[in-house]
Amino acid sequence: MDYFLELFLGGLTRGSIYALIALGYTMVYGIIELINFAHGEIYMIGAFTALIVISVLTMMGMNTLAILVIAGVIAVIYSSAYGYTVEKIAYKPLRNAPRLSALISAIGMSLFLQNYVLLAQTSDFLPFPNLIPDFEFMEPYAHIIGSTDIVIVITTAIVMIILTFLIKFTRIGKAMRATSQDKTMAMLTGVDVDRVISVTFIVGSATAAIGGVLIASHVGMINFYVGFIAGIKAFVAAVLGGIGSIPGAVLGSFVLGWTESFATGYISSDYEDVFAFLILVFILIFRPAGILGRSERHRV
């Protein structure tokens, strides 16, 4: 039973991380129907920014918790700036082009950012210090769940609540929903659609950066390629849940997290990815729009 619980909680942690990244995919898709392949790279840049800030602050001898918070904030700001810029450079000029052009532009942006970090930093794996302290009250359960996992799950939950609030109750949230339902009409009711799209990219990038910092401290190392792998997994999670739907992305992420965790635990860690994609195949066969997705209707 302990083993089951351990796997269950491990899956929960994984799912939380995927959810933080998948949100960016699904929000961008919901608004401009583009799969932003550069999103994983934004996550990676968040992790790198955090690492640089952490290294500098550690040399200055600051308190670890303060370092973690400052690094997180700077990573969020930096990644958001990247997300904003990527949209302006690579997607905005293609707003009225066929969807395939924007998609290829996204792949190009992804490769560019990977190689930019490769050149600017290094191709080696870099150690990422774990700054989340072991909580004392966690001691009896330490064999089941670590304090890092707890922090990840709680942070994700908080981000979800803030995001839900943002979309449901704020003016910009209403504008986002209007834009995703009918872009032209949103413009005609006075919504500045360009601004809504920018905000969407900024919010998506910010959550990805939070994910980047958390998973880097969980795994303990990063390189320029981590964004690609995590990006693909989060993308799978978003599709699984129904791309374009925010609750769908969260649900898909947890389904994926648990699948991987149980498959690794009960069968073999070699088959982790096999099961992840197997469940994707099955869900797409029986529910092509994803678990919570709406089937796409085309306006004539």
């Binding site: 704020t170 003016r171 339902q181 032209t184 413009m187």
Partner: protein, 262 residues
Amino acid sequence: MEPILKVQNLSMDFGGLRALNDLDLDVISGEIVALIGPNGAGKTTFFNCITGIYPPTEGDILITPPGKKTKRINGIKPNKVTERGLARTFQNIRLFPNMTVLENVMIGHHCRMRAGILGAILKDRSTIKEEERVVENSYQILEKIGLSDFVNEFAKNLPYGAQRRLEIARAMATDPFLLLLDEPAAGMNPHETEDLDKLIKQIRDKEGISILLIEHDMKLVMSLSDRIFVVDYGKKIAQGTPAEIKNNKAVIKAYLGEDIDA
């Protein structure tokens, strides 16, 4: 009297096709003006040019909001056009289907609101006040349009006639001085059309919003309009009062084809 909307020599090309050809039109404050013509004459294209969806190939679109200076609005973005005081509805209903009736109308207030993300998070006094004002104003508009019973219903669940009225309510929420209605009576039964006739007159008389409408229902057009413009193949073929248009030879020809005996 100075026109509030003045369109001069407007042309719109789509590749080799000239959809609008040297069109002139004006609306004077307090008028209801109709734009009619056979299918494919370019009426909706004309609306799209005015509201910034297409940048026109040639010509000028000038607006003079009450108490303000004349401005040329060619090629500015649709949300800016709305900010300047033109609002429109579509031929096929384009509500935000998965938002409530109230939210649809609140979105219309968007361009008149100041609060940003920061305000939404901090909930300072001015933001709360602004939100309260918007909600109150939205209720008032829904009351006027006769949709008070549906406030919290999703837009997609409304009966057809109510959806059409909601489009008008949302457009009114942007606080326009000129309302562009694209076939507001399309698909309505005679009873609903009669209500619409009253509603449009009421918007003009009570709210002081001038109206430019595209419509195929001639009974409605004749009853509402102060002046009528007729287009065919992107060109203006006639303009005048309803009585003048009724007996205009060019108009009859455009609608019914050449008279065999003539």
